[in-house]
Structures are given as C-alpha cells and as structure tokens.
Symmetry: C2
Subunit: 211 residues, 2 copies
Amino acid sequence: MKHFTDNDIRELSKYYRANLINSITGYKPANLIGTISETGETNLAIFSSVVHLGANPALIGMIVRPATVPRHTYENILRTGYYTINHVHESFVEKAHFTSANFDETESEFDTCKLQEEYIPGFTAPFVKESQVKMGMKFLQEIPIELNGTILMIGQIEHLILPGEIIGEDGNVDLEAVTSVCVSGLESYSRVTKFARFEYARVKNVPDFKA
Amino acid sequence: MKHFTDNDIRELSKYYRANLINSITGYKPANLIGTISETGETNLAIFSSVVHLGANPALIGMIVRPATVPRHTYENILRTGYYTINHVHESFVEKAHFTSANFDETESEFDTCKLQEEYIPGFTAPFVKESQVKMGMKFLQEIPIELNGTILMIGQIEHLILPGEIIGEDGNVDLEAVTSVCVSGLESYSRVTKFARFEYARVKNVPDFKA
C-alpha cells in the first residue's frame, strides 16, 4: 500500500494533488447548475459537489469556489435567488463537461455547449431541456468555509421534474433508467449499474455475518 | 413528466419523501466512518454525504444529523479529534449497509458487522482493514446548518492509504479496480464503469458541438 502523510500531500505537484484528492472521496454526482443574471444572460456549469442535506424541508447543498475565478453561477444565485440542478446523462456528458471552460461572460454555456434552455412559468432560472431529472431551487443561505475560502450554498426544492415511470412505489428513483452518470476525479465519467438493495437497517434484521 | 412543487413534496408520506429526495441529487459515494470513544469503544457508520472541499489543504466535509438519534460518530469525533474515512467495496457492501442499524452503544459495528479494525502508529481512530482506500482525518471544524439542524463536519487528511498500482501517473485513482461502490437513495448500491474521460476544459479545446 502507498501511504501519503499530510506533509507528502502538501509537497505533491499541484496537478497531481488535485487529481489525487479529487479522486479519493469516491464517486460524485454530475449535475449542471443553471442560472440567469439580472440582465438576462444565462449560465450553465457542471458541479460534482451537490450534496443531500435533508428531505423535510427538501434541502440541497453545493460547494462553490468564488475566490479563484469569476463565478457567474455564484453571483447569479446571490442576485436572483434562484437556480436549477439538472442531472447529466450519458447522451450529453461531453457537452456538460466543457461547460467548465472559462468562457467570456458574454457567452452562455447553453450556446457554446449546445444545450437547450427550458423555462417553466413563474420560475426565472433556466433548466436544461435535455436533462430528465431537474430541480428548480430557491436559494436560502450561503455558509462561508473559512478554512479554504469555499462556500456551502443551500437551497430548497421548489420544483422537482422527472419522468413518472422512473419513480418506484416507495419513492425511490431509478437513475439507471435515464443513464444519469457519476464523476470520478475531475475528468472521468462513469455509468452506474445497481447490484444490491438491502432493507432499511434495523438491529433485528442485521444478517448473521461471518468474519 | 411528473412535476412536484414544494407543497407537493411537503405533503408526501415521510417514507416516500425520504426515498425520493435522497434519490434525486444523483449518485453518492459510499464511505465508512471509523471512530473511537475516549474509553476505547469503536464505532463504524456508513455515510453517503462525504464531499470534497479542497485539495490544498486536503479538506473533506460530511453532513451529520446529531439531533435525531444518538450519533456516536459525531460525539467521538468531537471528543477525540480524529476519524477515518474508508471506501466501501463490492465484497463487503452488505456489512457496510447494516452498520446503520441503531445498535446499543456497548456494541461496536466492527463486531456486529464483522469488519476488522486496523490501526496505524500514532493515530487513534480505527481504519477498516477490508477497505482499499482509506484516510486518517484530523477534525478541524463543525459548521451548524441551522435550516435543518444538520452539521457540516470538516477534516483534513493526515494519512492517505491506497494501493500504489491504482494511482495513475497524473494522480487520478482507478476506483473501479478496487470495486468502490456508490449509493442511490438510501438502500441501493451500484457498481461503476468508466466510459468517458475528457481533457481539462479550456475555451480553446471545446469541441464544435452540434445542437
């Protein structure tokens, strides 16, 4: 086994370290965040840091890095109060990946990456038409993470739109049926195949495991 | 398409809502968090909320819910200052899942779920021997999320241990080679197969996409 200490990690090259540390938390969800500025310019950016915070109220977090480069996603959310979260599927994973290029602010990633804007009545932020699982989010709070200058952005689901036929009777969603992908590291995308489902874990139904 | 508004979501049954909302952020990493109490009782719990915060310093976050039931993981981290993050692989996914049962506090999930404790010199928290990718974490900060009573726990990697042969020349880690799994919803586990890798996105290398 290879063993890196905190000192070893600090001394790695920036590129190697970014790949290594972005790989080792495990698989991450691939989502496109859609926003619009006060003057009507849309923005679309891929994020792998979307995290479930709670079901009631339905809260979702994501980590943004506003300090490093201009981050239209962050600014648009603060100014308009709304954004969308859209799953990335196999059919447009390359387009989704390249939304992360540092485009001029007059260009919308919807245009340069050829993804279609979609709107619903009474909601300002653009959805991704090609996405099968999408959420219209109301921004609630930003929490600064002073340790490294990132920010936890928290929003509540106002609209959840997905094909009815992929929702099970118990509420579980079959993401495989719509080929939602996951991310490893910074640049690798994977398809996902379910192989196990277990009961809700209770002490009385824990199997008699062997060592 | 099925369209749920925030009102619709609030009115769902608790069980259906938990499954639905836990499904729709996308795929999540499966990690076991290892801790030890001040009196030497170990604890092991599966988490799907581990999130990359930054590579330099190497910071990792996770969301905990201390308010609902006794959470030994949270208490042990606060009291001892250390914990481990261990990938879940296909070979022990069922054992990992059942660590979430609400065991008596005198029982260690290492024992009841038959996973082996492993220690390294100078680090108090237990690693999972069966895990191929594991991190020894130093707790740095807890950030309360007052909107729903959860907490973002932030730690820095002090030790990173994984097989040298799964680390690429560029630092990317081949998680497929060690069958790390991901989670969908609360109870489904999936294997992951890489199908695409792209260059770092720069404006000059964006492909000429078709609509």
